[in-house]
Structure formats: structure tokens, C-alpha cells
């Protein structure tokens, strides 16, 4: 069977000893930068790009790919341990992952995250091998209209995710959308709400905002309490998940993988959409949604699976069509072109060892990461024993450096500081910031696609319901909203809110 022989070719490439080393190197570096807030896969890949010129194309690609999905593993670690999302995709993991850590289950959370990522990685590799064709065709049929509807669906996910009052979540989404407006407008070239600060011309850095709201604000809040109430309980329960945990987590992993695999293929949306959507769906499907936000295992398993699956399937448009679905892929194209390889549909035919070698190496890389990360859990968890009085200045320092590192700009540190103050305000008035972050991430694309769709359709709003994919997406939105606003659901949410006090 052709698939089998392709995979054999792929594994024979991936398992060559030097490619194994490159894979390991990439995965390790990826994990490290994933853990460090602010430094993401994009600058790292960019930094290492010149070193790949002398390497064989397959090796270069394998290493760079390793950095990318390795970063997903690392990002979840800080999200769980200190509630700081170093990557956009890790924001959702903070919600329940960090709560699990607070309940003394940091080890379990980390282990489930690693396992979910590995599971998703394995499945995603198979998906790439088998479903590239149909998935690419799906990606190709997305235009501005469909993207807009997808973003709306994503935002509704934010409402579902939220714990308390729907109105508050909507308001926070709105604030996020407004923050996302800051910058130069794509369609007119005009600077909006940048207050003449040139560093804001390309929008407010997500990392600064996230670290301000999640990291620093929380530090300020924590300082009020005596340290034994903070961060994580010193009594560590089992480091590894129990059988019951695995049974609960597994279906969530499956769903997350499916969602990540599909959403990852679509250009745009970025790394954040799969985990957010996966979390929202888990919460909707759970028998007891009130567990979410308090340390529900599905709230870690599903988003982690989704973001790893999404990271890998985002290679599909690149490998099959030569179209980059995000910034990293654009860098990969650069790497390929420097090697003299033209990315495009012919790449699968002309360079099968490269394509299948990379696909196979993804599975190998995931395995390596699992094997490496599980023992590391012990080390991570022991770092939590560091007393808070020493931990928080270090976290603050890394946040500062991280904020600077995204764009090498001190203004981003000031931005983070401003967000820290506002974030502390939000904590005091008890509103959740997660919907705001989602609004910030999706807002610009929502607007860009809305305006482009309107430009192309000459102001005809009906395109959103006449085009089939968009109609399906918006239909789902309507259904979800109806269900959420139905009296039964509203009553249940009110009960939950009241019982929390």
C-alpha cells in the first residue's frame, strides 16, 4: 500500500542517527523556549535558520519542526505551574491546569498534558499522512466570509468558557476586541488608537498583555496572602495520574485531537483557536460543567491535545500546497527556498524523503518529548517548593525579559506593566480575563475578514448565510447561543454562581 511505503521511507529518513539528533535538539530547545515566557518558537526558529543552511533539507526541517511542537510542550509547563501562558496556545491550559496545581496535583496535570500531547501528536501524524488531500481542499475553500464566521464561533467559545455571568464575559470579549484594534489598520493604512507610539503600530503584543493580566496581576494579588496559601499545596499527591484520571481524560484527548487536527489546517486563527474551542466543547459536554475552572482534568487534556494536533496539522498546507498557515511555516518556506527547494504541491512528489521524513520525525519527536518530559516533572515540581518570597521576584524578572524579548522593545514592558495594573483591577472586581484574551487574539482577524468580505461582496451581508461553510458555522453559533440563553441553562449557571459566592 502506498501509504505504508511512504511511511517506511519517512521512518528510514527520520531514524537516521543524525536526524534523530537534530530532532532531539529541536525538541529540547523547543521545550526550553516554551517554558520561558516571552521567547516563542518564531524568534527561535528565525535565530537558528542560518545554521540550517549547511544542513541537508530533511535534517533542517526536522529540527525546526521539533522546535515548534516542542514549544507547545514547554508552554503548558509554565501555564500549569505558575499560571503564565508563554504561548497563546497555553492560555487555556492555565485555567484548569494551574488549579490542578493548586490542589496539589501539579504532577498529574503535567503528566496528562504530556500524554495528551503525545497522543494527539501520534494521531495528527497519521492524519497528515492520510488526510492531507481532503484537509488541504477544506483549507482552500476558506475565504474571508468563512474565516469571519469561524472567528465568531471562536468568540462564542469564549462565552462558554467563562465561569460566571455571560454578560460579564461578553463585556470582557468586547474589551479584548477593542485592545485588538490598536495598531495600523490593514485596509486603510491608518494608525488607530496608537497614541503616536510607534511600537504599537503593529498592535499590542499579546505576550505582554497576557503576562500582565495573568502573571503580574496575580503576583500582586498573591502577595496579600501569607505564602502558605499561595501557588501550590506543598503536599504533592501522586506525581502520576491515577487510572481514574486516565479514564476521564482519554475521551477528552480524542475530542481535542479531532478539533485540533481540523482547525490547525486552516490558515489564520493561529495556535489559539484549537485549544479554546476544545475547552469550550469539553465544558459543554461535561455532565458537571461547574468543575471547569477548578481543576477538571478534561480542561487540561483536551486543549493540550488540541494545540499539539493543531501545531502539527498546520504543516499540511505547507507540505501539500506550499502555503504557510502561520509565521513559523513562513519561516520554513524561507528555509526551504534557501535550500533551493520550491515549496508547492510538487514538493511531495519531488522530495518524498523530505516530506515523509518530516512527518515521521514528528511522531519520533513527540515520543522523545514524552520520554524526556515525564521524568522532568519531578524536577519541575520540586522547583515549586521554592518559597514564594523567592519565586515571585524571579517570575517577575522573567516576565519583564520575556515581554522585552518578543519585539526587542522596552515599550512592551511598559505595556505589560499597564496591563498588570488593569489586571489587578479585574481581579478585584472579580471578572475573568480569559475571554478578554480571546477577544484580543481573534478581534483583528474578525474585523479584517469582515471588512474584506464586505469589500468583496459590495456590502452584501447575505454572503454569510448563502455560502455553505459559513452558513454551517453561523448556524452552530445560533444553536449554541440559544442553548446557553435557554432558561434551563441560565438557571443552572445562576446556581453555580451563587454557590461560589
Amino acid at each position: 500500500m502506498e501509504l505504508f511505503s511512504n511511511l517506511m521511507l519517512g521512518f528510514s529518513t527520520a531514524l537516521e542517527w543524525h536526524n534523530l539528533l537534530y530532532c532531539l535538539f529541536g525538541a529540547l530547545i523547543g521545550t526550553l523556549i516554551g517554558v520561558l515566557p516571552g521567547i516563542g518558537p518564531v524568534p527561535t526558529v528565525a535565530l537558528l535558520l542560518p545554521f540550517t543552511f549547511g544542513m541537508a533539507p530533511a535534517s533542517a526541517f526536522i529540527m525546526l519542526a521539533g522546535i515548534f511542537y516542542g514549544a507547545q510542550y514547554g508552554g503548558s509547563t509554565t501555564a500549569i505551574l505558575v499560571n503564565i501562558p508563554g504561548e497563546t496556545s497555553a492560555v487555556v491550559t492555565c485555567l484548569d491546569g494551574h488549579q490542578m496545581a493548586r490542589n496539589g496535583r501539579a504532577g498529574t496535570a503535567l503528566a496528562i498534558a504530556a500524554m495528551a500531547s503525545f497522543f494527539a501528536g501520534t494521531v495528527a501524524t497519521t492524519v497528515i499522512a492520510m488526510l492531507s488531500g481532503p484537509l488541504s481542499r477544506l483549507a482552500m475553500s476558506f475565504t474571508a466570509v468563512e474565516f469571519f464566521s469561524l472567528m465568531v464561533l471562536g468568540l462564542v467559545a469564549a462565552v462558554i468558557m467563562a465561569h460566571g455571568s455571560i454578560v460579564k464575559s461578553l463585556a470582557m470579549i468586547g474589551i479584548g476586541l477593542l485592545i485588538g484594534v490598536v495598531g495600523i489598520d490593514v485596509n486603510t493604512g491608518v494608525a488607530r488608537m496608537t497614541f503616536n507610539i510607534p511600537e504599537f503600530a503593529d498592535g499590542l503584543s499579546f505576550v505582554s498583555v497576557a503576562m500582565g493580566f495573568f502573571g503580574l496581576a496575580e503576583i500582586i494579588n498573591n502577595l496579600e496572602k501569607p505564602s502558605h496559601q499561595i501557588v501550590v499545596s506543598q503536599k504533592m499527591k501522586n506525581l502520576l495520574p491515577t487510572w481514574q484520571d486516565l479514564k476521564t481524560a482519554f475521551p477528552a484527548m480524542l475530542r481535542g485531537t479531532a478539533i485540533g487536527s481540523i482547525l490547525g489546517v486552516l490558515p489564520g486563527g493561529g495556535a489559539a483557536l484549537p485549544p479554546f474551542t476544545a475547552y469550550a466543547i469539553e465544558k459543554k459536554l461535561a455532565r458537571d460543567p461547574s468543575r471547569f475552572g477548578k481543576g477538571a482534568i478534561e480542561g487540561v487534556a483536551s486543549p493540550e491535545a488540541a494545540n499539539n494536533a493543531g501545531a502539527q496539522t498546520s504543516f499540511i498546507p505547507l507540505l501539500t500546497l506550499g502555503i504557510p498557515s502561520n509565521a513559523i511555516m513562513a519561516l520554513m518556506i524561507g528555509a526551504l527556498m534557501i535550500q533551493g527547494i520550491q515549496p508547492g504541491p510538487q514538493i511531495i512528489v519531488e522530495q518524498p524523503e523530505l516530506v515523509w521524513g518530516v512527518i515521521a520525525s514528528m511522531w519520533v519527536g513527540n515520543l522523545m518529548l514524552l520520554v524526556i518530559n515525564l521524568p522532568l516533572i519531578g524536577i519541575w515540581v520540586s522547583m515549586l517548593k521554592v518559597p514564594y518570597r523567592l519565586l515571585f521576584p524571579a517570575i517577575m524578572l522573567f516576565c519583564c525579559i520575556g515581554a522585552y524579548g518578543v519585539n526587542n522593545s522596552v515599550m512592551d514592558i511598559w505595556l505589560m506593566l499597564g496591563c498588570a495594573v488593569v489586571g489587578y483591577f479585574f481581579i478585584k472586581v472579580k471578572v475573568e480575563t480569559a475571554p478578554l484574551l480571546l477577544g484580543l487574539i481573534l478581534g483583528p482577524q474578525l474585523e479584517e475578514n469582515l471588512r474584506r468580505a464586505m469589500l468583496l461582496s459590495d456590502g452584501d451581508f447575505s454572503v454569510f448565510v448563502t455560502r455553505p461553510i459559513s452558513a454551517v458555522l453561523l448556524g452552530s453559533v445560533a444553536v449554541i447561543l440559544l442553548v446557553m440563553l435557554s432558561p434551563a441553562v441560565l438557571k443552572k449557571r445562576d446556581e453555580i454562581v451563587e454557590s461560589e459566592g
Binding site: I39, F392, V421, L455
Partner: protein
């Protein structure tokens, strides 16, 4: 959440909803002010101001809603901020930002960490000085040397 919370939530006119509502209104005003010169455009050719102002109207709606709700059905009162923590963390990050490019990472990080540590009542003097020095040095080696982040290590 706050340690000052005793038996049962306390409500008051100066409550969460009120402040949140006022914040939303303030934000809306800020948006209108800073986008006043932008074209709104039409729906087939939305101008730069269309989207932000549309959302800002939503914020006004929500703001009024929360302010009204805060008086009619008061929610929990807002507890005083932890001024010491707030002020010192702000100062620490500000010091870092100001000193980073001029005095280098090591000094900026060292000072920032010291200032921040004062926000915790549990800080021990000698320990924090040694610790901060080590962390600053380690950061310099990790971020500037190993990862080539463009920032000075020392003022010279």
C-alpha cells in the same frame, strides 16, 4: 478570595459591578475620543472607525447595565487593593524598564528583584540580595549570551 472575607458576602454601593461598569464607560469614552477623526465608512467599505466605534457603543451599553445593576442589586463590595504590593511591583517593573538599556540587564534585574521582594512580608535581607544577584547573572548568561537577545549586560 481575599483573607478579609468573613462569614457571608458583604454588599455595598461601592461594589464590583459599579467599578466594572465605570471602567467600561471610561474605556468607551477613550475609544470614541481617540477614533474621532477616523472615517466610519459604509457597510460595503467599512472605514477605520466603524468597528471600534461599534464595539464602543456595546461597551456603553454594558457599562450602563452594570452601573444600574450595581445599585439595584448590589453585588459584593470591592476590597481595598494591597497598596504595598501594587506600588512596589509597579516600581520594580518601571525601574527595570528604565534601566535595562542604559545600565544593562544585570543591574536592572538586580534592582528590580530587590524592589519587588520588598512587597512580601516574608523576605529575608541577606538571602534576597544573594539570590537576586545570582538570578540576574544567570539571566544575563542565559538570555543575552546563549539566546542572543539584544540588550546590554553592563553599562559599559
Amino acid at each position: 478570595m481575599s483573607p478579609k472575607q468573613e462569614a457571608g458576602p458583604k454588599t455595598s454601593p461601592a461594589n464590583e459591578d459599579l467599578f466594572f461598569g465605570l471602567f467600561l464607560l471610561g474605556m468607551a469614552i477613550l475609544v470614541f475620543a481617540s477614533t474621532r477623526k477616523l472615517l466610519i465608512g459604509t457597510s460595503s467599505n467599512m472605514g477605520a472607525g466603524y468597528f471600534p466605534q461599534a464595539i464602543a457603543w456595546g461597551m456603553i451599553f454594558f457599562g450602563v447595565f452594570f452601573v444600574a445593576k450595581s445599585q439595584v442589586r448590589p453585588s459584593e463590595k470591592v476590597y481595598a487593593p494591597y497598596w504595598r504590593g501594587l506600588f512596589l511591583i509597579i516600581l520594580a517593573v518601571a525601574v527595570f524598564s528604565l534601566l535595562l538599556m542604559k545600565a544593562g540587564l544585570v543591574l536592572a534585574a538586580f534592582l528590580a528583584m530587590l524592589i519587588a521582594s520588598a512587597a512580601s512580608k516574608e523576605t529575608r535581607p541577606v538571602e534576597i540580595v544573594v539570590y537576586s544577584a545570582l538570578m540576574s547573572a544567570a539571566s544575563a548568561l542565559l538570555f543575552v549570551r546563549a539566546l542572543s537577545m539584544p540588550m546590554p549586560i553592563f553599562p559599559w
